[in-house]
Amino acid sequence: MAQGGHETSTNIGEQIIAHVANSGEMIHFELFGINLSITKHVIMLWIAASLLITVALYASRKYRSEKRPIPSGFTNAFEFVVDFVRTGILIPTVGKNHVLKWGPLVMSFFFLILTMNFLGLMPMFNYINHGHGGTTPTGNFNMTAALAIITFFAIIIAGVLEHGFFRYWKNMIPGNVPKAVLIILIPIEVMSMFVRPFALTMRLAANMTAGHIAMLAIFAPIFILHNAYVGVASVAMNVGITFLEIIVSIVQAYVFTLLSSVFIGQSIHPHH
């Protein structure tokens, strides 16, 4: 018994990691030598995207058919969130004149990340892969990296569209700077170009994974100690953490979106 307990406790770290990590290949699929196999996170991504498209198309139906729609009920609630992204993120960062141009990208970031964050909170996706962990797709750094790479290119495209190709690169260096400073400044600017999407990638993935790790760690004593009373305490604590995770899901979607929008805005309006 004591040996069994010891075995469980040494395995607990691996168990937790296995529960928050992506599944293996569920359907093997390769195209032009690239492995495009379907994993649990791909399926969760598709579910999130389908859900978001369905809900957003339903909520925005009045806006496509009427000139000056008056929202009510669910449409009103959805419009509130859209207006929050517009007035809270887009207008202060990219500016009022660029909202229509960059709004779709920023809105898509916010709503897709938020949907995936929430999906990760629902303890049902473990059944997709025969009881494998109920993970969050946004906790996978491959996905957040893919999103951050979109931000990376969006920053460059925004600058080039606004100032032209050469002016954009020139804008990265502030004027009236001694040449000696440029030797330090240019590498820093180039580094920051890559550090920003890297930070976006890691912040979102780590935050979304951390909550799951915390919850699993709190559940772990049940399996180590085989005690029902510990289970009561663990469940009570995890209910609290779930509420915290709801906030984290919203905040992280907001932070990723806000920073992406801020970087795009800096590219449109340099030296501010």
Partner: protein
Amino acid sequence: MENLLRFDTGLMIWTWITFIIVLVVLGTKAWKPMIKALEDRENFIRESLEEAKAARKEADKVASEYEAMVAKARQEAQEIVAAGKDTAERMKTEILNETQVKSAGILKQAEAQITTERDKAISEIRTQIVDISIAAAEKIIVKSLSREDNERLIKDALKDYGQN
């Protein structure tokens, strides 16, 4: 641990494909129409407020103009009344003066006429007295005195009478 940090190009590519689909579908069908509607509503509310403000300003202006007009009309009316009073007063004075002058003239004329009439009457009376006296004296002393004597006597008598 390797599981958690495994590079997965497949997931990255699926993320891009899915994200682009979401971006294109929702960008054209949901986000843009909603952003446009929100901007349109915002502009509509702002314009309505501005119009209301302008209309109120206009109404205030009209009201103040109207008040100024009423005040001006009141002042004019007062001026007209004051001017009418002045004219009436002046006319009254003129008429009174004229009447006084006229009546004074009439009085003077009457006095002059009375004086003339009185003088005339006195001289007539004098003549008649002389005639009567002569006639009477003639009758009394027709033979004792000549005509010249009589006249001299009468003139003397009259002189006395005039002095008396």
